[in-house]
Structures are given as C-alpha cells and as structure tokens.
Symmetry: C2
Subunit: 188 residues, 2 copies
DNA sequence: GTCTATAGCTTGATAGAC
DNA sequence: GTCTATCAAGCTATAGAC
C-alpha cells in the first residue's frame, strides 16, 4: 500500500476550509480532490458515505477544534481574563473575522438527501456554543436566565459580525465584538 | 404568442425565495423551473444571461422590496414609532426570523464565474441597509460616528439572529432584536 | 412567450488494478 | 491507500418550432 498522502489533521483542515467557504452544494468533489490532493476514489476509501460523510466529519472535527478554542472558559482564574482569552482565540480561529462560520455556511441549502442529519448536528454545535458562554456568564454572577440571554446575545453578535464582514469585506464589527465580549457576558 | 404564465412580481417572489433558501449553488435551474412553472428555455428568454442574470435580478428586486420595508425611516413623525414600524415590517418580511437573509445566503460560495458581480451588489445592499439605520440614529440625536456604530450594531444583531434562528430553529433572539431595535438605534 | 429536444459538461459515486 | 477508468444522473445553456 502507498503511504498516506495527507495526514488526518491536514486533511480535515483542508476539508473544513472548503465547506466553510463554499457551503455544502458549493463544495464539489472536484474541489475537494484538488484541495486535498486525493483522487475521488481515495476520498471514498476514507469516507465511504461520500460527500455527506465528509461534511459530517468536518462538523465533528470542528466541534473538537472549538472545544480547544473555548478551553479557557473551563479553566480557573479571573472570569474576564478568561473571556478575553477566548475572544483572542476566536479572532485567531476566524482570522479576525475574515473567515465564515461553518454553522452559517452549512445551514444554507436544501433539506433533501441527508442534509437533515447535518442540520441536526449543526443545531447541536450552536447550542453547545451558547451553553458554553452561558456557563461563564453564570459564573460571573448572572442568574441562569440572565446568563442564557447574555450568551445568546454574544453568539448572535458573533455570527452577525461574520456575516457583515463576509458581505462587506470590513472586519470592524468583528473587532468590536471581540472587545465587547467580556462586557456582554458579565453584564459589565 | 402565449400569455405570460406568471406575473413579473410572482416570478420574482418565487425566485427570491429559492435563492434565499438554497444559496446560489443550491438553487438549480430544475428547482427554478419547478418553482416558477416556466421551462428552462422560457427562463432563458426572460433572463438571457442565465442563472447569474436571475440572481442579479433577485438582488435588484430585493433592493426595491427592502426600500418599502424601510420606508417608515424616511417618513415624518416620532422617531421611535417609525423604528418600531420598521421592526414590524422586517418581522413580516422575514417571517418572524424563520426566513434567511438573501445577503447571507448569496455570499456563501465560490468566487468563480460572475459571482464577484453578485458579491459587489450584495455589499452595496448591506451598506445601504446600514446607512438607512445610521440616518435615523443620526436623527435621534447621535453624532455621525455614533450613528454609524449603532446602525452597524443593529444590522450585526439582525443578521446574527437570523443565523441563530436558521441553525437552531428558535426565533427568540430575533423577537428580542425586534423589541430592542428602537433602543439600539436611539441609544435609549 | 412558451415549448420540446438536445448538446456538452460536471456532478457524486463505483469497479477493480496495484 | 492510492490510483485510472467509467458510470448514470444532473447541471447550465442553446436551437428552433409554434
């Protein structure tokens, strides 16, 4: 057998970038093949379920990556400091707002085929994102209800700033979101 | 000649819904044909430039529709009342947050073909949206700089709440945005 | 202004060699 | 684990009749 042409991690990073930028319909097997250096048949060897399998693997991978990005939330220390750390991590991960959100890109499109399975996973990831923010808002002294509202507000502004950045090419609102995040979650 | 099978307005409404829900790559000519009742060749009669022409027509149409939705901003009367009216219009237009934003859907995808022309128009629409909000924020007493910030914040939250609603199926954050809009734009 | 019919290409997916 | 070769189906787009 020939050796692996691309490591698991490099493969997943390339696939994630593609689905994030192109969405499910936009990411064709030709693009995937080109981006990974693997021919069609090799892709089906690694992902027997085809394109849907690839998309689901990307979602799983992103879920894990995101846990690392949000890791400071579960550590100890000053709450606002940890939130600032997460804001910085998210800035790195999303290239200061120039990259789209996978949840956004993958939730555009038809509900045919196995897209509903992907949609379900997408909803789970979004919920986990909000819950993570709610946990630290709670830690900062908010009631459960307050914390949930603050967390949803933070995620709404995050997603919105990425949409605005992608459509206008300007990242100002994302940078402001980064700066405002501690205030949003702790309520000042 | 046979009569028009579908009125210009009905046609544009169907096309807009399709591109809004499916994105550019996701909206195939088969879907378009089915949704409008027009065969492929008839679509090319109305839109000689093909799919890109249709998408651009959808963007133009949406730009006009949006001017009606935002119309209260240019009327006279109490500022907060007019903002509330716009919030209600946007709630109707986006089905309380259950519909996606065309700007979001159409800005996902490859930059090949004539997609850059569409991207340019999308950026214009987003800018007009922000400017409209900035104008009424200015009217409420804000400086030009303050008004711009408030307007961007309002649009960011609007887009974000639609992304969250689409991915989770829950419209709570959109409803909150609607309620908060007067406060966001006038600064209380 | 609509249609049928078709062209030519790309898509997602599979078979089988090495 | 990778490849070449191939498939049927779908895609965008066009020609030409009525």
């Amino acid at each position: 057998m020939p050796p692996e042409k691309i490591s698991e991690r490099e493969l997943m990073l390339a696939l994630t970038a593609l689905f994030r930028d192109q969405g499910f319909e936009g990411a064709t097997l030709s693009m995937i093949s080109k981006a990974t250096g693997l021919k069609r048949a090799s892709l089906y060897h690694r992902f027997p379920g085809g394109k849907q399998d690839i998309a689901l693997a990307v979602v799983d991978f992103t879920e894990l990556e995101f846990k690392e990005v949000l890791a400071p939330l579960w550590e100890s220390g000053d709450v606002k400091t940890r939130i600032r750390r997460v804001a910085r991590n998210l800035g790195d991960y999303y290239d200061d707002g120039m990259k789209s959100c996978l949840v956004d890109s993958l939730s555009v499109g038809k509900e045919a085929d196995g897209r509903d399975i992907i949609a379900e996973r997408i909803a789970e990831i979004m919920e986990a994102f909000i819950s993570s923010f709610a946990a630290i808002a709670r830690e900062s002294g908010a009631t459960a209800k307050q914390a949930r509202l603050r967390a949803e507000d933070a995620v709404v502004r995050f997603e919105g700033s990425l949409v605005v950045a992608r459509s206008t090419g300007k990242i100002d609102s994302f940078k402001r979101w980064q700066k405002d995040l501690p205030r949003i979650l702790t309520g000042e």
